[in-house]
Amino acid sequence: MTTTTPPQEAEAPASRGNGAGALTGLRVFTGRSLKHSFRDAESLLMAILLPVMLMLIFVFIFGESIAAGQGGDRGDYLAYVLPAVALTAAGFGASYTAVVVSDDMTTGFMNRLRTMPFPAVTVLLGHTASSMVRNLLATGVVLAIAFGLGFRTEASAVELAGAVGLIALWILVITVVFAVLGMVAGSAEAASGYGFVLLFLPYVSSGFAPVETMPGWLQGFAGHQPMTPIIDASRALLDGASPGDTWWIGLLWCGGFIAVAVWLAAVIFPRKVAR
Protein backbone atom coordinates (compact mmCIF):
# COMPACT_ATOMS: atom_id res chain seq x y z
CA MET A 1 0.00 0.00 0.00
CA THR A 2 1.54 3.32 -1.04
CA THR A 3 -1.02 5.83 0.17
CA THR A 4 0.06 8.26 2.83
CA THR A 5 -3.14 8.03 4.75
CA PRO A 6 -3.17 9.23 8.31
CA PRO A 7 -5.72 7.62 10.56
CA GLN A 8 -8.84 9.65 10.05
CA GLU A 9 -12.28 9.69 11.64
CA ALA A 10 -10.40 10.64 14.78
CA GLU A 11 -12.37 13.84 15.26
CA ALA A 12 -15.06 14.10 17.85
CA PRO A 13 -18.10 12.19 16.73
CA ALA A 14 -20.16 15.15 17.93
CA SER A 15 -19.90 16.65 14.46
CA ARG A 16 -21.60 13.85 12.53
CA GLY A 17 -24.04 15.34 10.06
CA ASN A 18 -27.62 14.65 10.93
CA GLY A 19 -28.98 16.32 7.88
CA ALA A 20 -29.90 19.83 6.85
CA GLY A 21 -33.33 21.38 6.98
CA ALA A 22 -35.26 22.71 4.00
CA LEU A 23 -34.00 26.24 4.66
CA THR A 24 -30.35 25.26 4.57
CA GLY A 25 -31.05 23.24 1.43
CA LEU A 26 -32.75 26.21 -0.19
CA ARG A 27 -29.88 28.52 0.76
CA VAL A 28 -27.21 26.11 -0.44
CA PHE A 29 -28.91 25.45 -3.78
CA THR A 30 -29.87 29.05 -4.47
CA GLY A 31 -26.21 29.91 -3.94
CA ARG A 32 -25.19 27.08 -6.24
CA SER A 33 -27.58 28.08 -9.04
CA LEU A 34 -26.56 31.72 -8.79
CA LYS A 35 -22.90 30.70 -9.04
CA HIS A 36 -23.79 28.73 -12.17
CA SER A 37 -25.60 31.72 -13.66
CA PHE A 38 -22.98 34.31 -12.92
CA ARG A 39 -20.03 32.15 -13.92
CA ASP A 40 -21.48 31.27 -17.26
CA ALA A 41 -20.40 34.48 -19.01
CA GLU A 42 -22.16 33.61 -22.26
CA SER A 43 -25.62 33.05 -20.83
CA LEU A 44 -25.23 36.10 -18.63
CA LEU A 45 -24.36 38.19 -21.68
CA MET A 46 -27.36 36.71 -23.52
CA ALA A 47 -29.62 37.53 -20.58
CA ILE A 48 -28.69 41.20 -20.80
CA LEU A 49 -28.21 41.52 -24.53
CA LEU A 50 -31.49 39.86 -25.48
CA PRO A 51 -33.83 42.39 -23.83
CA VAL A 52 -31.70 45.22 -25.21
CA MET A 53 -31.94 43.83 -28.75
CA LEU A 54 -35.66 43.12 -28.46
CA MET A 55 -36.32 46.63 -27.22
CA LEU A 56 -34.29 48.29 -29.97
CA ILE A 57 -35.77 46.11 -32.73
CA PHE A 58 -39.36 46.71 -31.74
CA VAL A 59 -39.03 50.39 -31.00
CA PHE A 60 -36.82 51.43 -33.93
CA ILE A 61 -37.71 48.93 -36.65
CA PHE A 62 -41.38 48.06 -36.12
CA GLY A 63 -42.32 50.89 -33.77
CA GLU A 64 -43.05 53.69 -36.20
CA SER A 65 -45.16 51.62 -38.59
CA ILE A 66 -47.14 49.77 -35.91
CA ALA A 67 -47.74 53.00 -33.99
CA ALA A 68 -48.76 54.82 -37.19
CA GLY A 69 -51.59 52.34 -37.69
CA GLN A 70 -52.89 53.27 -34.26
CA GLY A 71 -52.43 56.96 -34.71
CA GLY A 72 -49.45 57.22 -32.36
CA ASP A 73 -45.68 57.64 -32.64
CA ARG A 74 -42.53 55.76 -31.68
CA GLY A 75 -42.71 57.01 -28.07
CA ASP A 76 -46.25 55.70 -27.66
CA TYR A 77 -45.21 52.32 -28.98
CA LEU A 78 -42.31 52.18 -26.50
CA ALA A 79 -44.80 52.48 -23.64
CA TYR A 80 -47.05 49.93 -25.35
CA VAL A 81 -44.43 47.26 -25.96
CA LEU A 82 -42.53 47.63 -22.66
CA PRO A 83 -44.22 44.81 -20.65
CA ALA A 84 -44.14 42.40 -23.60
CA VAL A 85 -40.41 42.91 -24.12
CA ALA A 86 -39.76 42.33 -20.42
CA LEU A 87 -41.82 39.12 -20.44
CA THR A 88 -40.40 37.82 -23.72
CA ALA A 89 -36.86 38.27 -22.42
CA ALA A 90 -37.83 36.60 -19.15
CA GLY A 91 -39.21 33.66 -21.12
CA PHE A 92 -35.84 33.07 -22.73
CA GLY A 93 -34.12 33.52 -19.39
CA ALA A 94 -36.43 31.07 -17.67
CA SER A 95 -35.99 28.42 -20.37
CA TYR A 96 -32.48 27.99 -18.96
CA THR A 97 -34.19 26.48 -15.89
CA ALA A 98 -35.40 23.53 -17.99
CA VAL A 99 -31.83 22.82 -19.06
CA VAL A 100 -30.28 22.95 -15.60
CA VAL A 101 -33.08 20.94 -13.99
CA SER A 102 -32.80 18.30 -16.70
CA ASP A 103 -29.02 18.20 -16.22
CA ASP A 104 -29.43 17.56 -12.51
CA MET A 105 -32.14 14.95 -13.02
CA THR A 106 -30.30 12.89 -15.61
CA THR A 107 -26.87 12.79 -13.97
CA GLY A 108 -25.93 11.05 -10.75
CA PHE A 109 -26.17 14.33 -8.87
CA MET A 110 -29.82 14.06 -7.94
CA ASN A 111 -29.48 10.40 -7.01
CA ARG A 112 -26.84 11.19 -4.44
CA LEU A 113 -28.92 14.02 -3.03
CA ARG A 114 -31.86 11.68 -2.67
CA THR A 115 -29.83 9.42 -0.41
CA MET A 116 -28.87 12.35 1.84
CA PRO A 117 -30.74 13.40 4.97
CA PHE A 118 -32.44 16.56 3.67
CA PRO A 119 -35.33 17.37 1.29
CA ALA A 120 -33.87 16.90 -2.21
CA VAL A 121 -36.66 18.93 -3.77
CA THR A 122 -34.86 22.07 -2.53
CA VAL A 123 -32.64 21.67 -5.61
CA LEU A 124 -35.62 22.68 -7.74
CA LEU A 125 -36.46 25.57 -5.42
CA GLY A 126 -32.86 26.77 -5.70
CA HIS A 127 -33.05 26.77 -9.50
CA THR A 128 -36.36 28.61 -9.30
CA ALA A 129 -35.02 31.25 -6.92
CA SER A 130 -31.97 31.91 -9.07
CA SER A 131 -34.14 32.15 -12.20
CA MET A 132 -36.18 34.83 -10.44
CA VAL A 133 -33.03 36.79 -9.58
CA ARG A 134 -31.63 36.51 -13.12
CA ASN A 135 -34.84 37.47 -14.86
CA LEU A 136 -35.74 40.32 -12.54
CA LEU A 137 -32.29 41.70 -13.35
CA ALA A 138 -33.20 41.44 -17.03
CA THR A 139 -36.49 43.23 -16.29
CA GLY A 140 -34.47 45.95 -14.61
CA VAL A 141 -32.38 46.24 -17.77
CA VAL A 142 -35.54 46.57 -19.90
CA LEU A 143 -36.90 49.33 -17.67
CA ALA A 144 -33.56 51.14 -17.69
CA ILE A 145 -33.44 51.09 -21.50
CA ALA A 146 -37.01 52.29 -21.69
CA PHE A 147 -36.15 55.27 -19.52
CA GLY A 148 -33.02 55.81 -21.59
CA LEU A 149 -35.15 55.92 -24.74
CA GLY A 150 -37.43 58.52 -23.24
CA PHE A 151 -40.14 56.56 -21.43
CA ARG A 152 -41.72 58.66 -18.68
CA THR A 153 -44.63 57.85 -16.41
CA GLU A 154 -46.87 59.52 -13.85
CA ALA A 155 -47.53 56.18 -12.15
CA SER A 156 -47.37 56.07 -8.35
CA ALA A 157 -44.90 53.85 -6.51
CA VAL A 158 -47.74 51.46 -5.70
CA GLU A 159 -48.75 51.19 -9.35
CA LEU A 160 -45.14 50.61 -10.42
CA ALA A 161 -44.72 47.98 -7.73
CA GLY A 162 -47.93 46.33 -8.93
CA ALA A 163 -46.66 46.21 -12.51
CA VAL A 164 -43.29 44.76 -11.51
CA GLY A 165 -45.06 42.32 -9.15
CA LEU A 166 -47.25 41.01 -11.98
CA ILE A 167 -44.24 40.65 -14.25
CA ALA A 168 -42.36 38.84 -11.45
CA LEU A 169 -45.30 36.51 -10.93
CA TRP A 170 -45.38 35.57 -14.62
CA ILE A 171 -41.60 34.99 -14.50
CA LEU A 172 -42.29 32.58 -11.64
CA VAL A 173 -44.98 30.86 -13.74
CA ILE A 174 -42.72 30.24 -16.74
CA THR A 175 -39.86 29.24 -14.47
CA VAL A 176 -41.88 26.51 -12.74
CA VAL A 177 -43.35 25.38 -16.07
CA PHE A 178 -39.83 25.08 -17.48
CA ALA A 179 -38.68 23.32 -14.30
CA VAL A 180 -41.41 20.70 -14.80
CA LEU A 181 -40.44 20.35 -18.48
CA GLY A 182 -36.84 19.86 -17.40
CA MET A 183 -37.94 17.13 -15.02
CA VAL A 184 -39.99 15.29 -17.64
CA ALA A 185 -37.58 15.66 -20.55
CA GLY A 186 -35.04 12.92 -21.09
CA SER A 187 -32.21 15.33 -21.82
CA ALA A 188 -31.30 18.98 -21.60
CA GLU A 189 -31.65 19.32 -25.39
CA ALA A 190 -35.17 17.90 -25.35
CA ALA A 191 -36.07 20.16 -22.43
CA SER A 192 -35.19 23.33 -24.32
CA GLY A 193 -36.92 21.95 -27.41
CA TYR A 194 -40.26 21.50 -25.61
CA GLY A 195 -39.99 24.98 -24.18
CA PHE A 196 -39.56 26.59 -27.58
CA VAL A 197 -43.30 26.88 -28.15
CA LEU A 198 -43.72 28.83 -24.93
CA LEU A 199 -41.24 31.43 -26.10
CA PHE A 200 -43.59 32.41 -28.93
CA LEU A 201 -46.57 32.86 -26.65
CA PRO A 202 -46.03 36.62 -26.09
CA TYR A 203 -46.18 37.37 -29.84
CA VAL A 204 -49.72 35.99 -30.02
CA SER A 205 -51.00 38.26 -27.27
CA SER A 206 -51.79 41.92 -26.88
CA GLY A 207 -48.10 42.48 -26.17
CA PHE A 208 -46.72 43.68 -29.50
CA ALA A 209 -49.84 44.63 -31.45
CA PRO A 210 -53.48 45.16 -30.44
CA VAL A 211 -55.55 41.99 -30.62
CA GLU A 212 -58.16 43.78 -32.78
CA THR A 213 -55.63 44.12 -35.60
CA MET A 214 -55.20 40.33 -35.87
CA PRO A 215 -57.28 38.06 -38.15
CA GLY A 216 -60.49 36.85 -36.52
CA TRP A 217 -59.38 33.25 -36.08
CA LEU A 218 -56.38 34.40 -34.06
CA GLN A 219 -58.25 36.94 -31.93
CA GLY A 220 -59.98 34.28 -29.84
CA PHE A 221 -56.70 32.84 -28.70
CA ALA A 222 -54.74 36.08 -28.48
CA GLY A 223 -57.46 37.82 -26.50
CA HIS A 224 -57.92 35.08 -23.94
CA GLN A 225 -54.51 33.54 -23.45
CA PRO A 226 -52.98 34.13 -20.00
CA MET A 227 -50.31 36.60 -21.09
CA THR A 228 -52.79 39.11 -22.47
CA PRO A 229 -54.40 40.16 -19.14
CA ILE A 230 -50.98 40.23 -17.46
CA ILE A 231 -49.49 42.40 -20.18
CA ASP A 232 -52.57 44.66 -20.29
CA ALA A 233 -52.55 45.09 -16.52
CA SER A 234 -48.81 45.79 -16.28
CA ARG A 235 -49.02 48.24 -19.18
CA ALA A 236 -51.88 50.12 -17.54
CA LEU A 237 -50.13 50.19 -14.16
CA LEU A 238 -46.83 51.35 -15.69
CA ASP A 239 -48.77 54.14 -17.37
CA GLY A 240 -50.52 55.11 -14.13
CA ALA A 241 -53.89 54.07 -15.56
CA SER A 242 -56.54 51.74 -14.15
CA PRO A 243 -55.99 48.09 -15.09
CA GLY A 244 -59.72 47.31 -14.81
CA ASP A 245 -60.43 43.61 -14.44
CA THR A 246 -57.25 42.48 -16.17
CA TRP A 247 -55.12 42.34 -13.02
CA TRP A 248 -57.16 39.71 -11.18
CA ILE A 249 -57.72 37.65 -14.31
CA GLY A 250 -53.92 37.64 -14.66
CA LEU A 251 -53.48 36.67 -11.01
CA LEU A 252 -55.94 33.77 -11.43
CA TRP A 253 -54.03 32.45 -14.44
CA CYS A 254 -50.73 32.66 -12.53
CA GLY A 255 -52.19 30.96 -9.47
CA GLY A 256 -53.62 28.19 -11.63
CA PHE A 257 -50.38 27.56 -13.50
CA ILE A 258 -48.31 27.53 -10.31
CA ALA A 259 -50.73 25.19 -8.54
CA VAL A 260 -50.70 22.71 -11.46
CA ALA A 261 -46.92 22.90 -11.84
CA VAL A 262 -46.32 22.36 -8.13
CA TRP A 263 -48.75 19.43 -8.13
CA LEU A 264 -47.03 17.90 -11.18
CA ALA A 265 -43.62 18.39 -9.59
CA ALA A 266 -44.79 16.77 -6.35
CA VAL A 267 -46.05 13.75 -8.32
CA ILE A 268 -43.19 13.44 -10.79
CA PHE A 269 -40.15 14.37 -8.74
CA PRO A 270 -40.14 11.43 -6.30
CA ARG A 271 -40.70 8.96 -9.18
CA LYS A 272 -38.04 10.27 -11.50
CA VAL A 273 -35.03 8.42 -10.15
CA ALA A 274 -32.31 8.06 -12.75
CA ARG A 275 -31.35 4.41 -13.19
Binding site: E9, N18, R32
Partner: protein, 311 residues
Protein backbone atom coordinates in the same frame (compact mmCIF):
# COMPACT_ATOMS: atom_id res chain seq x y z
CA UNK B 1 -25.91 18.67 17.91
CA UNK B 2 -25.43 15.72 20.19
CA UNK B 3 -24.06 12.44 19.02
CA UNK B 4 -26.06 9.36 19.80
CA UNK B 5 -24.86 5.99 18.76
CA UNK B 6 -27.36 4.45 16.40
CA UNK B 7 -29.64 2.28 18.45
CA UNK B 8 -28.60 -0.85 16.63
CA UNK B 9 -24.86 -0.37 16.40
CA UNK B 10 -24.14 -4.05 16.99
CA UNK B 11 -26.56 -5.06 14.24
CA UNK B 12 -25.20 -6.76 11.12
CA UNK B 13 -24.21 -4.44 8.28
CA UNK B 14 -26.86 -5.95 6.05
CA UNK B 15 -29.64 -8.32 6.98
CA UNK B 16 -31.88 -9.16 4.06
CA UNK B 17 -34.58 -11.80 3.76
CA UNK B 18 -36.73 -12.38 0.70
CA UNK B 19 -35.96 -9.02 -0.92
CA UNK B 20 -37.69 -8.52 -4.28
CA UNK B 21 -37.89 -5.48 -6.53
CA UNK B 22 -39.56 -4.93 -9.90
CA UNK B 23 -39.66 -1.98 -12.27
CA UNK B 24 -43.12 -2.25 -13.76
CA UNK B 25 -43.44 -5.82 -14.98
CA UNK B 26 -39.70 -6.31 -15.16
CA UNK B 27 -38.47 -8.17 -12.11
CA UNK B 28 -34.97 -6.97 -11.24
CA UNK B 29 -34.26 -8.61 -7.86
CA UNK B 30 -35.78 -11.93 -6.87
CA UNK B 31 -36.05 -13.21 -3.32
CA UNK B 32 -32.59 -12.23 -2.06
CA UNK B 33 -31.32 -13.50 1.29
CA UNK B 34 -28.08 -12.02 2.57
CA UNK B 35 -26.43 -11.27 5.89
CA UNK B 36 -23.10 -9.46 6.04
CA UNK B 37 -21.02 -8.35 9.04
CA UNK B 38 -19.31 -4.93 9.11
CA UNK B 39 -16.34 -4.85 6.72
CA UNK B 40 -15.66 -4.45 3.03
CA UNK B 41 -17.74 -6.54 0.67
CA UNK B 42 -18.21 -6.75 -3.08
CA UNK B 43 -21.28 -7.41 -5.16
CA UNK B 44 -20.02 -9.06 -8.33
CA UNK B 45 -22.09 -9.44 -11.45
CA UNK B 46 -22.33 -8.59 -15.15
CA UNK B 47 -24.24 -5.65 -16.63
CA UNK B 48 -27.94 -5.95 -16.01
CA UNK B 49 -27.65 -8.41 -13.13
CA UNK B 50 -29.33 -6.00 -10.70
CA UNK B 51 -26.26 -4.70 -8.84
CA UNK B 52 -27.18 -1.04 -9.13
CA UNK B 53 -30.78 -1.71 -8.17
CA UNK B 54 -29.71 -3.55 -5.02
CA UNK B 55 -27.37 -0.73 -4.03
CA UNK B 56 -30.11 1.82 -4.77
CA UNK B 57 -32.54 -0.08 -2.55
CA UNK B 58 -30.05 -0.37 0.31
CA UNK B 59 -29.04 3.31 0.13
CA UNK B 60 -32.72 4.47 0.31
CA UNK B 61 -32.76 5.73 -3.27
CA UNK B 62 -35.54 3.42 -4.44
CA UNK B 63 -38.06 1.53 -2.26
CA UNK B 64 -38.06 -2.27 -2.32
CA UNK B 65 -41.28 -4.15 -3.06
CA UNK B 66 -41.23 -6.96 -0.52
CA UNK B 67 -39.05 -8.74 2.00
CA UNK B 68 -37.32 -7.75 5.21
CA UNK B 69 -34.42 -5.36 4.75
CA UNK B 70 -32.18 -3.99 7.51
CA UNK B 71 -29.16 -1.83 6.83
CA UNK B 72 -27.19 -1.07 10.02
CA UNK B 73 -30.29 -2.31 11.78
CA UNK B 74 -32.54 0.22 10.04
CA UNK B 75 -35.25 -0.27 7.43
CA UNK B 76 -34.42 1.80 4.30
CA UNK B 77 -38.14 2.39 3.74
CA UNK B 78 -39.41 3.07 7.24
CA UNK B 79 -36.29 4.60 8.82
CA UNK B 80 -35.26 6.40 5.66
CA UNK B 81 -34.03 9.63 7.18
CA UNK B 82 -32.18 8.00 10.10
CA UNK B 83 -30.40 5.68 7.69
CA UNK B 84 -29.55 8.52 5.33
CA UNK B 85 -27.36 10.13 8.00
CA UNK B 86 -25.36 6.89 8.28
CA UNK B 87 -24.74 5.90 4.66
CA UNK B 88 -23.42 7.49 1.51
CA UNK B 89 -23.86 6.50 -2.12
CA UNK B 90 -21.30 7.12 -4.80
CA UNK B 91 -23.02 6.07 -7.98
CA UNK B 92 -21.78 4.97 -11.36
CA UNK B 93 -22.11 8.45 -12.79
CA UNK B 94 -20.16 11.17 -11.05
CA UNK B 95 -22.42 13.13 -8.72
CA UNK B 96 -20.21 16.18 -8.59
CA UNK B 97 -21.08 19.60 -9.93
CA UNK B 98 -18.76 20.34 -12.84
CA UNK B 99 -19.27 24.07 -12.72
CA UNK B 100 -18.15 24.34 -9.11
CA UNK B 101 -14.67 23.85 -7.69
CA UNK B 102 -13.64 20.82 -5.66
CA UNK B 103 -13.86 22.78 -2.43
CA UNK B 104 -17.28 24.20 -3.31
CA UNK B 105 -18.59 20.71 -4.05
CA UNK B 106 -17.32 19.44 -0.72
CA UNK B 107 -18.74 22.39 1.23
CA UNK B 108 -22.11 21.99 -0.47
CA UNK B 109 -22.31 18.32 0.50
CA UNK B 110 -21.09 19.07 4.02
CA UNK B 111 -23.78 21.70 4.55
CA UNK B 112 -26.45 19.33 3.26
CA UNK B 113 -25.33 16.66 5.71
CA UNK B 114 -26.02 19.26 8.38
CA UNK B 115 -22.46 20.21 9.27
CA UNK B 116 -21.79 23.74 10.42
CA UNK B 117 -19.94 25.91 7.94
CA UNK B 118 -16.72 25.73 9.96
CA UNK B 119 -16.89 22.01 10.45
CA UNK B 120 -17.64 21.53 6.75
CA UNK B 121 -14.64 23.65 5.79
CA UNK B 122 -12.31 21.72 8.06
CA UNK B 123 -13.62 18.37 6.83
CA UNK B 124 -13.43 19.47 3.19
CA UNK B 125 -9.80 20.55 3.48
CA UNK B 126 -8.85 17.32 5.24
CA UNK B 127 -10.56 15.06 2.73
CA UNK B 128 -9.26 16.95 -0.30
CA UNK B 129 -5.75 16.62 1.05
CA UNK B 130 -6.23 12.96 1.78
CA UNK B 131 -7.31 12.26 -1.80
CA UNK B 132 -4.47 14.35 -3.24
CA UNK B 133 -6.79 17.05 -4.56
CA UNK B 134 -5.51 20.03 -2.55
CA UNK B 135 -3.78 21.59 -5.53
CA UNK B 136 -6.89 21.33 -7.70
CA UNK B 137 -9.23 22.27 -4.86
CA UNK B 138 -10.08 25.69 -6.26
CA UNK B 139 -10.27 24.66 -9.90
CA UNK B 140 -13.57 23.85 -11.54
CA UNK B 141 -14.34 20.16 -11.64
CA UNK B 142 -14.85 20.43 -15.42
CA UNK B 143 -11.05 20.60 -15.67
CA UNK B 144 -10.48 17.40 -13.63
CA UNK B 145 -9.38 14.07 -15.09
CA UNK B 146 -11.64 11.04 -14.77
CA UNK B 147 -9.64 9.68 -11.85
CA UNK B 148 -9.70 13.01 -9.99
CA UNK B 149 -13.44 13.28 -10.50
CA UNK B 150 -14.01 9.83 -9.10
CA UNK B 151 -11.86 10.66 -6.07
CA UNK B 152 -13.74 13.89 -5.45
CA UNK B 153 -16.99 11.98 -5.84
CA UNK B 154 -15.96 9.51 -3.16
CA UNK B 155 -14.53 12.25 -0.93
CA UNK B 156 -17.82 14.17 -1.15
CA UNK B 157 -19.62 11.07 0.05
CA UNK B 158 -17.35 10.89 3.09
CA UNK B 159 -17.94 14.38 4.38
CA UNK B 160 -20.95 13.30 6.45
CA UNK B 161 -18.87 10.58 8.17
CA UNK B 162 -20.92 7.63 6.91
CA UNK B 163 -20.71 4.27 8.68
CA UNK B 164 -21.47 2.47 5.45
CA UNK B 165 -20.29 3.59 2.04
CA UNK B 166 -21.90 2.29 -1.14
CA UNK B 167 -19.64 2.45 -4.18
CA UNK B 168 -21.37 1.51 -7.42
CA UNK B 169 -18.70 0.37 -9.91
CA UNK B 170 -16.08 2.74 -8.51
CA UNK B 171 -13.38 1.93 -11.06
CA UNK B 172 -15.35 1.36 -14.26
CA UNK B 173 -13.88 3.50 -17.02
CA UNK B 174 -10.64 4.28 -15.21
CA UNK B 175 -7.20 3.43 -16.59
CA UNK B 176 -5.06 0.85 -14.80
CA UNK B 177 -3.08 3.40 -12.81
CA UNK B 178 -6.08 5.32 -11.53
CA UNK B 179 -7.80 2.03 -10.75
CA UNK B 180 -4.87 0.89 -8.63
CA UNK B 181 -4.74 4.26 -6.83
CA UNK B 182 -8.44 4.05 -6.09
CA UNK B 183 -8.09 0.49 -4.79
CA UNK B 184 -5.49 1.80 -2.34
CA UNK B 185 -7.87 4.54 -1.21
CA UNK B 186 -10.73 2.09 -0.76
CA UNK B 187 -8.56 -0.25 1.29
CA UNK B 188 -7.40 2.66 3.45
CA UNK B 189 -11.00 3.76 3.86
CA UNK B 190 -12.01 0.34 5.11
CA UNK B 191 -9.13 0.35 7.58
CA UNK B 192 -10.38 3.64 9.01
CA UNK B 193 -13.41 1.82 10.34
CA UNK B 194 -16.13 2.49 7.78
CA UNK B 195 -17.85 -0.42 6.11
CA UNK B 196 -17.89 -0.56 2.33
CA UNK B 197 -20.27 -2.30 -0.03
CA UNK B 198 -19.06 -1.98 -3.61
CA UNK B 199 -20.31 -3.36 -6.89
CA UNK B 200 -18.02 -4.51 -9.65
CA UNK B 201 -17.93 -6.45 -12.89
CA UNK B 202 -14.32 -7.44 -12.29
CA UNK B 203 -13.49 -10.63 -10.46
CA UNK B 204 -10.02 -9.28 -9.91
CA UNK B 205 -11.34 -6.17 -8.18
CA UNK B 206 -13.59 -8.13 -5.85
CA UNK B 207 -10.66 -10.42 -5.14
CA UNK B 208 -8.30 -7.54 -4.32
CA UNK B 209 -10.66 -5.59 -2.08
CA UNK B 210 -13.42 -7.62 -0.55
CA UNK B 211 -13.68 -9.86 2.48
CA UNK B 212 -16.89 -11.38 1.17
CA UNK B 213 -17.95 -11.60 -2.45
CA UNK B 214 -21.62 -11.86 -3.34
CA UNK B 215 -22.25 -12.98 -6.91
CA UNK B 216 -25.44 -11.66 -8.47
CA UNK B 217 -26.88 -13.08 -11.68
CA UNK B 218 -30.22 -12.17 -13.21
CA UNK B 219 -31.38 -10.66 -9.93
CA UNK B 220 -30.54 -13.71 -7.86
CA UNK B 221 -27.61 -14.40 -5.54
CA UNK B 222 -25.79 -17.39 -7.04
CA UNK B 223 -22.75 -17.46 -4.74
CA UNK B 224 -21.59 -15.80 -1.56
CA UNK B 225 -18.28 -16.36 0.19
CA UNK B 226 -14.68 -15.32 0.54
CA UNK B 227 -12.53 -15.03 -2.56
CA UNK B 228 -10.84 -18.32 -1.67
CA UNK B 229 -14.14 -20.15 -1.28
CA UNK B 230 -15.40 -18.76 -4.56
CA UNK B 231 -12.27 -19.70 -6.45
CA UNK B 232 -12.54 -23.18 -5.03
CA UNK B 233 -15.95 -23.50 -6.63
CA UNK B 234 -14.80 -22.06 -9.92
CA UNK B 235 -11.62 -24.07 -10.27
CA UNK B 236 -8.14 -22.61 -10.49
CA UNK B 237 -5.69 -21.88 -13.28
CA UNK B 238 -4.83 -24.40 -15.97
CA UNK B 239 -1.81 -25.09 -18.13
CA UNK B 240 -2.96 -25.64 -21.69
CA UNK B 241 -0.94 -27.53 -24.29
CA UNK B 242 -1.60 -26.60 -27.92
CA UNK B 243 -0.62 -28.07 -31.28
CA UNK B 244 0.67 -25.82 -34.10
CA UNK B 245 -2.89 -25.00 -35.22
CA UNK B 246 -3.79 -23.77 -31.74
CA UNK B 247 -6.03 -26.71 -30.82
CA UNK B 248 -5.90 -27.64 -27.15
CA UNK B 249 -4.27 -31.02 -26.68
CA UNK B 250 -4.41 -31.19 -22.93
CA UNK B 251 -5.32 -29.11 -19.88
CA UNK B 252 -3.40 -29.50 -16.62
CA UNK B 253 -4.87 -27.95 -13.44
CA UNK B 254 -2.35 -25.86 -11.47
CA UNK B 255 -2.32 -23.75 -8.34
CA UNK B 256 -0.77 -21.02 -10.46
CA UNK B 257 2.41 -20.45 -8.43
CA UNK B 258 5.75 -20.33 -10.23
CA UNK B 259 6.90 -23.46 -8.45
CA UNK B 260 3.79 -25.45 -9.29
CA UNK B 261 3.80 -24.32 -12.94
CA UNK B 262 7.53 -25.09 -13.23
CA UNK B 263 7.01 -28.58 -11.82
CA UNK B 264 4.31 -29.36 -14.38
CA UNK B 265 6.28 -27.80 -17.23
CA UNK B 266 9.35 -29.91 -16.39
CA UNK B 267 7.28 -32.98 -16.98
CA UNK B 268 5.73 -31.57 -20.16
CA UNK B 269 9.11 -30.45 -21.52
CA UNK B 270 10.57 -33.90 -20.97
CA UNK B 271 7.74 -35.64 -22.84
CA UNK B 272 6.89 -33.08 -25.57
CA UNK B 273 9.66 -30.49 -25.94
CA UNK B 274 8.03 -28.68 -28.94
CA UNK B 275 4.49 -28.23 -27.69
CA UNK B 276 3.01 -24.70 -27.26
CA UNK B 277 2.09 -23.85 -23.67
CA UNK B 278 -0.33 -21.29 -22.19
CA UNK B 279 -1.13 -20.66 -18.52
CA UNK B 280 -4.58 -19.23 -18.03
CA UNK B 281 -6.68 -18.10 -15.09
CA UNK B 282 -10.46 -18.46 -15.02
CA UNK B 283 -12.29 -15.58 -16.66
CA UNK B 284 -15.46 -13.97 -15.40
CA UNK B 285 -17.22 -15.78 -18.23
CA UNK B 286 -16.13 -19.07 -16.77
CA UNK B 287 -17.20 -18.05 -13.28
CA UNK B 288 -20.68 -17.45 -14.56
CA UNK B 289 -20.67 -20.51 -16.71
CA UNK B 290 -19.79 -22.51 -13.65
CA UNK B 291 -22.23 -20.78 -11.29
CA UNK B 292 -25.19 -20.31 -13.57
CA UNK B 293 -24.76 -22.75 -16.43
CA UNK B 294 -24.90 -19.89 -18.93
CA UNK B 295 -22.21 -17.53 -20.19
CA UNK B 296 -22.20 -14.03 -18.73
CA UNK B 297 -22.73 -11.25 -21.20
CA UNK B 298 -19.67 -9.23 -20.36
CA UNK B 299 -18.94 -8.26 -23.97
CA UNK B 300 -15.90 -6.01 -23.98
CA UNK B 301 -15.40 -5.91 -20.25
CA UNK B 302 -13.37 -9.04 -19.74
CA UNK B 303 -9.87 -7.84 -20.59
CA UNK B 304 -9.14 -7.43 -16.93
CA UNK B 305 -10.03 -10.98 -16.14
CA UNK B 306 -8.43 -12.61 -19.13
CA UNK B 307 -4.90 -13.01 -18.03
CA UNK B 308 -3.30 -15.37 -20.45
CA UNK B 309 0.44 -15.68 -20.19
CA UNK B 310 2.22 -17.15 -23.15
CA UNK B 311 4.98 -19.40 -21.87
Amino acid sequence: MTYTDPAHSDAPLLDITGLSKSYGRHRVLTDLDLTLPPGIHALLGPNGSGKTTLVNVLSTLVPYDSGEVRVLGLDPRRDRKALQSLVSLTGQYAAVDEKLSGTENMLMMGRLFGLSRRDAERRADGLLERFGLTEAAHKRVATYSGGMRRKLDIAAGLIGRPQLIFLDEPTTGLDTRSRQALWDEITALARSGASIFLTTQYLEEADALAERIVVLHDGRIVADGTAAQLKGRIGGSTIQLHDDAGHILEEIPTRGSALDVARHLDAVAAARPDVDVTVRRPTLDEVFLELTGEPADTSDRTELDRDEVAA
